[in-house]
């Protein structure tokens, strides 16, 4: 727990001024999530709360992205949406039957291509923007 908080703190140092609002939202999100577990709200409702707040965070963050970097934005979102790999891994690990293991493996494979491809291409693009002149 202590480590987690420390890491969070360290990261937020890099936050630019305009993004403080977002940090705030994220905090609210966390608190809401914890409060709701305690009050016994169904996981679906909690998911919905997290979802709606995240859409707002996404909205504010993405409007701040400079238009010149819209292509890297697309490739990095593509990479992070492949976090779906988490679901696929669980399917492989705890699958009771072979059909589900196979689907899980396929998911891990496809998402991995995307994760690595997405981050590498983003890195390549950003390197071009930051080349020494």
């Amino acid at each position: 727990m202590a480590d987690t908080t420390k890491l969070l703190q360290q990261l937020s140092d890099h936050f630019r001024e305009g993004l403080h609002k977002i940090e705030h939202l994220q905090q609210t999100l966390e608190e809401t999530a914890i409060a709701n577990v305690a009050s016994g709200v169904s996981p679906a409702t909690m998911g919905l709360i997290v979802f709606v707040l995240s859409v707002f965070i996404g909205y504010y963050v993405v409007w701040k992205v400079t238009p010149a970097l819209h292509s890297p934005l697309m490739s990095v979102t593509n990479a992070i949406s492949s976090v779906i790999v988490v679901g696929a891994i669980v399917a492989v690990i705890s699958s009771a039957n072979s059909a589900s293991t196979l689907f899980g493996l396929a998911g891990v494979f496809l998402a991995s291509i995307n994760i690595f491809g997405g981050f590498v291409i983003t890195q390549r693009m950003l390197a071009m923007f930051n080349k020494k002149k």
Partner: protein
């Protein structure tokens, strides 16, 4: 369990930071590292907090390694010109992965704690079919977009009679099947839903033309996010929900920006907006009009005399891979004390920001590249506007001709420059199928030919001087 969720939250925050970093090129590199770190935390946490045999661990590492090799190889080798199709291809993979996870969850619900086979709770089933539906649609839709962008399929809109009606019927069928699925939970129903969604994905992208691709690619980007969020709901995984929502919102904003830059509504694009009829109307009347064609030498002379030049690149530059030779041209002009700037229209190219990447690739300084609203007022005080492979985004009809299909679209005011040089392959019309009045403007000189060839000739002409 608590620690796992908190670690997922850390990953989620890192993902947010990775997007936030993109507010400037300097912070973006760090942002990308946050993204990678977030993904690492997500994967390691998932593996660390679940009981598993070494066999399955080995299987997972092996599969990730295989994907990593393929993904990295593709991303390292791909030509920046081919970026739009790469993105479409990647989006299709996310879609397919979502479908895979939805099916895995269906066959093994206990693994995700959403019930036992045959007794999955109704809500999870609903979310599952939603995830499979969006995933399948993203998969096939992106695949068609990829085929069109890669030139494996005609970029022209493909339509058939009653298409909207058929799509509507498919949508209704999917809705009915989804409800049915919550009552009789069999794999067959889920398969039918997935297949219907796959067909719908194909039919949605087929009628959309090549130049509307910036919207399509953004939209599919958005879908891939919603698909991930849908799966997140199914698996009750907060990280997936957070990330899916972020990506979905991002793609939606990009789609909005692209639509606005074309002065069209989202539905207008999706329903296959610009018709072919308009194209035939427009050509007929204007074919015979005279244009002034010039040589590379004329162009070099004009630019040498100029105090300032604004270059307007478009898809034609990307296709011809002319960015590197244009950089040489810029260097020559700068050595002759000519001020050079670049003006980028939001929908130039086939995906948002594509021109910026290509110019950056050619080492053209970031500071010389301007967005539409930042440079438009400069044209009136500019000697030469050099348009390379762009067309509709410079068409003054968007300002004046209320009957024009692009009326109201924000354009680059190149017509206000003292002289306009237009590099174009032929007199053909742009994607909107309408003639550009600018070609017949007495201030305009047409330079016919491939963007790269013409640029090379201009550079040569400079060297001869």
């Amino acid at each position: 369990m608590e620690t796992k969720i908190l670690l997922y939250l850390v990953a989620g925050v890192l993902f947010i930071l990775s997007l936030a970093g993109l507010s400037s090129a300097k912070t973006a590199v760090r942002g990308n590292r946050y993204g990678i770190l977030g993904m690492l935390i997500a994967v390691v946490t998932t593996l660390a907090f679940s009981m598993h045999s070494w066999q399955s661990a080995l299987l997972i590492y092996g599969t990730i390694a295989a994907g990593a090799i393929i993904g990295t190889a593709i991303a390292k080798r791909i030509d920046m010109t081919a970026l739009p199709q790469l993105m479409a291809g990647f989006h299709s993979l996310v879609g397919l992965a979502a479908v895979c996870v939805a099916f895995a969850a269906f066959y093994s619900p206990t693994a995700f704690g959403i019930g036992t086979p045959g007794h999955i709770n109704k809500f999870s089933l609903l979310e599952m079919s939603l995830g499979a539906f969006i995933g399948a649609m993203t998969f096939t839709g992106s695949f068609i977009a990829f085929m069109k962008l890669q030139g494996l399929m005609s970029a022209k809109p493909i339509r058939f009679a009653g298409q909207h009606l058929f799509n509507g019927a498919l949508g209704v069928a999917i809705a009915v099947m989804t409800i049915l699925f919550t009552f009789i939970q069999t794999g067959d129903v889920l398969t039918i839903i997935t297949l219907c969604a796959a067909i719908l994905g194909v039919l949605l992208i087929l009628p959309i033309g090549g130049a509307d691709m910036p919207v399509v690619v953004s939209m599919l980007n958005s879908y891939s996010g919603w698909a991930a969020a849908g799966i997140g709901f199914t698996l009750q995984n907060m990280l997936l929900i957070i990330t899916g929502a972020l990506v979905g919102a991002s793609g939606a904003i990009l789609s909005y920006i692209m639509c606005k830059a074309m002065n069209r509504s989202f539905f207008n694009v999706i329903l296959g907006g610009l018709g072919e009829d308009e194209a035939t109307n427009a050509d007929g009347a204007t074919e015979e009009r005279a244009v002034k064609a010039g040589s590379a030498e004329d162009a070099a002379f004009l630019m040498e005399q100029a105090g300032s030049v604004i270059i307007v690149p478009g898809y034609g530059m990307a296709v011809a891979q002319a960015q590197h030779i244009i950089r040489e041209l810029v260097d020559i002009l700068k050595s002759k004390d000519v001020k050079v700037k670049f003006a980028i229209h939001p929908v130039a190219g086939r995906m948002p920001g594509h021109m910026n990447v290509l110019l950056a690739e050619a080492n053209i300084p970031y500071e010389d590249v301007f967005e539409l609203e930042d440079i438009n007022s400069d044209f009136s005080s500019t000697d030469v506007a050099l348009v390379i492979g762009a067309n509709d985004v410079t068409n003054p009809a968007a300002r004046t001709d209320t009957a024009s299909p692009i009326y109201g679209m924000p354009i680059l005011d190149v017509d206000k420059a003292k002289t306009i040089l237009f590099v174009k392959r032929s007199m053909g019309v742009g994607y909107a199928g309408i003639q550009n009045e600018l070609f017949f403007n007495p201030k305009t000189m047409m330079l016919f030919g491939d963007a790269k060839k013409v640029s090379e000739e201009i550079v040569k002409a400079f060297e001869m001087m």
